[in-house]
Symmetry: C2
Subunit: 256 residues, 2 copies
Amino acid sequence: AATVIAVANQKGGVGKTTTTVSIGAALAERGLRVLVADLDPQGNASTGLDIRVGDGEPSMVDVIVDGTPAADAIRATAIEHLDVLPASLELASAEVELVSAMARERALVNGLAGVRDRYQVVLVDCPPSLGLLTINAFVAADQLLVPVQCEYYALEGLTGLLRTIGLVEKNLNPGLAIGGVALTMFDSRTRLAQQVVDDVRGYFAGRAFETVIPRTVRLSEAPSFAQPITVFDPESRGADAYRSLADELLTRLGLA
Amino acid sequence: AATVIAVANQKGGVGKTTTTVSIGAALAERGLRVLVADLDPQGNASTGLDIRVGDGEPSMVDVIVDGTPAADAIRATAIEHLDVLPASLELASAEVELVSAMARERALVNGLAGVRDRYQVVLVDCPPSLGLLTINAFVAADQLLVPVQCEYYALEGLTGLLRTIGLVEKNLNPGLAIGGVALTMFDSRTRLAQQVVDDVRGYFAGRAFETVIPRTVRLSEAPSFAQPITVFDPESRGADAYRSLADELLTRLGLA
Ligand SMILES: Nc1ncnc2c1ncn2[C@@H]1O[C@H](COP(=O)(O)OP(=O)(O)OP(=O)(O)O)[C@@H](O)[C@H]1O
Ligand SMILES: Nc1ncnc2c1ncn2[C@@H]1O[C@H](COP(=O)(O)OP(=O)(O)OP(=O)(O)O)[C@@H](O)[C@H]1O
Ligand SMILES: [Mg+2]
Ligand SMILES: [Mg+2]
């Protein structure tokens, strides 16, 4: 059955969606069957893969609040081997609706149970918060992939994230751990970027990936064409970097 | 009494904190008495102004959950006329604690009531979500300032934000409206940035500010020195842009 990886960091705008979509596409290119599960009400991972949820169409909120089978909500993308369980704005109300639900932290793991054997990797794109949606991702996950932007505020947010991971590991999902820390949006014009890379490598040691994702114009433009970078500009620095990151992930998962 | 402005956008990393801190410092430079109220558990606005909350020290979570007087939690900053009501990580638990509290959406407006007459402007830095903390900011606010990053995903998020503003305006705070939309992180290397500016100006018409904030290295470096840009590099493009934005805001508030 699939390895479930939650792509999470409550700091906003650090590249969670871009990393989910780009790694997902790179793994699919290597022939792995991949599901991107969009757990962010903004639905950026869905639209970044050209999937839009119309009125009345099943999506993530139905799966985790009403128990709709995930298979009914999953869509194929234009990319072979890559499917999406899309999100819509209605997902924003799920946090409030789940608060008093039974087993509220297990809504996602239960929702995905029926489809895990169809994929080798499931990537869950998390919203920028440590609320009930992200907790659901942590309970469903075998491991976490944490994107860290090469900027100052990104370092500050790690304390809160590590604290929450510890609580979930102790009470809801024993064995949950950070599988990898990915450095994103590296801008060689600032000294600060290299300082953040050094700090993160010092703090996380071997868990930080070797590959550092550069800040590039093409990566910021890809979402407006609703394509991942590997399709939008396959020869670009951004595509190469995310393929390299995907290969590192495959090695760590023992799927290389 | 002070005009309360909530700086909000649930899309992450669009420049909410940078805009709150920079405009706050620019207004204080002009001699206005300003309070920055940090409503984000990440506490970036607090640390961006060199304020850290130690164990047991009062902060935003005490004001909105326990009713601690705001005056007890407010700190002076190194900048004359600029104070901060700081946030700490504990604020993350406030959302869950407030869910069943009486008048849960009015915790902030009640908390600020005792200090509004000491300031001319209160800027509330919101977290990247539309949960109970941001709703509290919308209830306390006279108007909203919405930073929009000049990137594709930033446009997509506006639908959800406008929907939430409408709900709060109808049910909790009649008259709430977007006072201004600020375009941030404009990178002249991408065609997309100008397209976003044009789209936002078309959609929001006169509510979009004239000033466009450029993406600059110095703005990204200022937080690591715990200083707003007007202090960190007073002659920089970033400082000039935020002073110009602050002046536009003053004109709209009738305080110029
Ligand atoms: N390496 C990169 N180079 C240039 N732009 C990038 C890069 N990675 C991401 N971006 C852009 O930066 C913005 C933030 O990235 P993204 O939306 O992936 O972050 P996020 O962590 O998912 O944000 P949120 O917290 O809102 O979910 C987007 O506009 C995206 O297109
Ligand atoms: N104009 C700019 N030029 C360069 N860097 C910027 C600019 N504005 C903000 N930044 C940097 O971009 C990152 C995101 O900005 P910021 O933290 O202010 O956004 P935010 O909307 O408050 O994020 P969050 O959603 O996590 O609260 C920060 O590292 C900040 O230093
Ligand atoms: Mg995202
Ligand atoms: Mg912020």
